[in-house]
Subunit: 306 residues, 4 copies
Amino acid sequence: MPKLAYLGPEGTFTEEALRVLAPDAERLPSSNVTAALEAVRRGDADGAVVPLENSLEGAITTTLDELAWGEPLIVTAELLLPVDFSLLARPGTEVGHIKRVFTHPAAITQCRNFIARELPDAVVVAAPSTAAAAQEVSLPGSPYDAAIAARIAGEHYGLVELATGIGDRADTVTRFVRVSPPGPLPAPTGADRTSLVVFLTDDHPGALLEMLTEFSVRGVNLTRIESRPTGDGIGRYFFHFDLEGHVADARVGEAISGLHRICADVRFLGSYPRADGLAPQAKRGTTDVDFAEAAGWLTRIRTGRV
Amino acid sequence: MPKLAYLGPEGTFTEEALRVLAPDAERLPSSNVTAALEAVRRGDADGAVVPLENSLEGAITTTLDELAWGEPLIVTAELLLPVDFSLLARPGTEVGHIKRVFTHPAAITQCRNFIARELPDAVVVAAPSTAAAAQEVSLPGSPYDAAIAARIAGEHYGLVELATGIGDRADTVTRFVRVSPPGPLPAPTGADRTSLVVFLTDDHPGALLEMLTEFSVRGVNLTRIESRPTGDGIGRYFFHFDLEGHVADARVGEAISGLHRICADVRFLGSYPRADGLAPQAKRGTTDVDFAEAAGWLTRIRTGRV
Amino acid sequence: MPKLAYLGPEGTFTEEALRVLAPDAERLPSSNVTAALEAVRRGDADGAVVPLENSLEGAITTTLDELAWGEPLIVTAELLLPVDFSLLARPGTEVGHIKRVFTHPAAITQCRNFIARELPDAVVVAAPSTAAAAQEVSLPGSPYDAAIAARIAGEHYGLVELATGIGDRADTVTRFVRVSPPGPLPAPTGADRTSLVVFLTDDHPGALLEMLTEFSVRGVNLTRIESRPTGDGIGRYFFHFDLEGHVADARVGEAISGLHRICADVRFLGSYPRADGLAPQAKRGTTDVDFAEAAGWLTRIRTGRV
Amino acid sequence: MPKLAYLGPEGTFTEEALRVLAPDAERLPSSNVTAALEAVRRGDADGAVVPLENSLEGAITTTLDELAWGEPLIVTAELLLPVDFSLLARPGTEVGHIKRVFTHPAAITQCRNFIARELPDAVVVAAPSTAAAAQEVSLPGSPYDAAIAARIAGEHYGLVELATGIGDRADTVTRFVRVSPPGPLPAPTGADRTSLVVFLTDDHPGALLEMLTEFSVRGVNLTRIESRPTGDGIGRYFFHFDLEGHVADARVGEAISGLHRICADVRFLGSYPRADGLAPQAKRGTTDVDFAEAAGWLTRIRTGRV
């Protein structure tokens, strides 16, 4: 039974994701993404489940940065989880009496309309996670009257649900990934995704265009690009890429080898089945069969058998 | 005397930025970026100063999203401000007794080493801003023992500085922008920056490459690219671009007209002097003189004077 | 009644083309392409009809070079003319007795199979034009027994047709152009072609890619590209381009202005209706309406009306 | 002693080239380029020397087409030969009495100024080669009074040199290639050239740009591009490319494999030392060492050793 660290405490959306990705795993709640990934790096956990991006909030930058720096880890699975928020309070609390609300900043943004309409006078304070907010609210003497969090968090911490489905959009989704120590990759399924971190050799104009051309010329489609600061001053960035296909695919392998050649550093973050199961349309001449045929042809012409 | 909203309360780095950008302005502290920009949109303020990105933390996504949606506003100035953090507490507090620290999540990340070394057992709680953390700590009965914030915040709220320069990196910089209602742009200086928000027509593979080509073919260099979710599901993004030059420059005008033609929407966020004063190297054939000469030539050949 | 020079003598395919392009014109036969175009430059003719390329033989390089150098001229019309060859001889000649055949080298190539099959032992000598060959054969005492030329040439010079349709391919076509002195261009028809000559600034790697990108980024399709030596040594070339659209089209105008800016020289050779009447499919965002809309948008944002 | 066919008869510039390229070879004059290459294909010769392009006249299209169609052959060497023309006649002829001149059309073009100045009234007739012209003039009863050809041709055929160095440009150069049956390639020298013929899958707009991108993305520079008609109608072309480097170079191999994948057909015409000895500047990340390192990296990451 694998032991998986996750962004805790119990009751987070991440715990929900973990239960779907690895129902039988032992769960090791961590206080933040950094701690969850460090547990894997130290060998205290066999893997971790962490959020990577949210359809409303965007990238979870802590996850991006933790994967880019420090000891390498690889992504071995992903999950798209609809997220919805509930207003949770200690039993006996009435909505009209709520003065202070505790929740994660992402939830503040995503429940903006509900808060403006139902809690116009409440002070809303930022918490490190929605589950931590629920936990804090559950404590006797908490300065907060209510938390905005997943329903599961209310169940964990004995809170009652005063309102449910309070997010501004009903279709908000968070993408979670399972992160593992380096080791054998999930086998290609025909509908895979590959994640990379890329550091430029120098910030010359056109470097990004060059990188994208390495992909496009081999018919590899990007599904996500994020820039992150290197820490070396405004204007210095590195990039996270998600792309269609598996590193075992010839076109993906050649494309990221090309990146590796022209960039200061490329960190491979894994190839894994896409949660949405979408198989890419291979552009003409970019299937594994095409690459194998071309390799055979090249071998022949190099020996003058034209 | 213009009235400028800013990310308050008093004592934030943003206030510091505002004092540099507009020393004589009346200052209107707002509880968050959204509120500051809404004050401009409603006409309650003549402008606002908000953070846009940090060399360690990356983009301030709230600012990016606020500028992308809602009534249009334009950026009219930028400032790069070194940011440094101090550990602030009520008079009489000793470092050894600090159990609960309140600060903005960005500060938690940026002071990670100091916290691990000097406050290994303290609980660190996320605050909406560093100045809000200082304000909270200054209140009698606050559950927090210390705040991590700008020194200026300590002065505002009567806290003492227990440690200074506690950021992991001494060279951290935040980029602030002055935002104004639509209106005349700052005149070109020869060292300008232009900001844009771009929404794709559809997420076809290669759309990003096409956008970058619109810039590169006219010799316009990008200095920043950020992707943000449109809110319509994982895998749907829009883009923030910063580029070298002023929209009054011929090459910039033609490039962003090109973007406008091929994209679903391009929101112009302003052209303004670069804080670093760096003038771009115009690629061969891309100066205003080159464009004017080519326009004259085109007029001639269209009438058969070859 | 305009006077048009053409590649003579009477009986050439070019004369045939001229009769189609300008049935009422006075015809001025010239001994070669150079002479025909010089007649226009000197004002001895109002225009000229010359061959530009053949579907089997390729470019008529003399025409390409004559249009690239010297006083500028413009193309004002084009014609695609099926070409077919006949074996022509003086009355009384029998095929079996033909020992020496005179014709243009292009005809030698295009009738290769017929010659090998029917005239295996004949010596085939290169003539300056097919019609000149017919003329020579018609002279008493000519060393040649037969000519390969257009049927019309046989009629002109009193030769009989010993065989007809002797080209290897039945579908061979020659493209002829009408060349005029600089002056008003033919109006856009929606199915036009534009011809250019482009000289690179320097032969840096990637210069050709840069040129093609100027076209592709504005959605302008090339229909022909020819490289020609500049005369300054092996490895130094200039280019002939044919492209879809009229210089009056916004996308074409911007594309060739872009070329003009980055190249040492661009010579405009005219915009004229396509002989095949094919209208281009405008790529998204590249119609005149799109350009006009973008220009209006640019004007607005430049004055801060966003 | 190898037997090499060449564009004869004796006295052509091609013979001169052959003598430089293979001083000890047995020489087999052929009546034209086609015949010379057919001799190799049939095994009647061990190779052939033919002209490929001239710095003034451009491509020798017969050579291009012969190499593109029929049984494959490969180029194994190249030579740049300065070409100069002489006016040759039977002993006793005076310049003032020359009425009919016989020479190859390329020579007519290249000696245009001399002809206009010194032989303004002469009729100039096209010959299949300059040497054939000299041979014809040497025959008793020839209708021609003089030939324009290489001095060597005059020596062969007993003509006297009435004028020498009569080309308009003193620096005209012809590039000749040695063509061999398929077999082992010349070893890489560090300053090599590779020649290709490329047929597009279809004539979609942007196909040429795609091809050039396959080269540029691997840092492979083109030194020549020629379009030739496929014979299937105006507007249908295939391409000849010369590029820097040897097919044994990793970047060249990957680039032309890429072409092979996306094109209908790529015919490899050989890799051979450049006559000018120029070694290419490898772009960052494109040396064989870079490719080998990247291949090792790819192998590692594919097995999860990141």
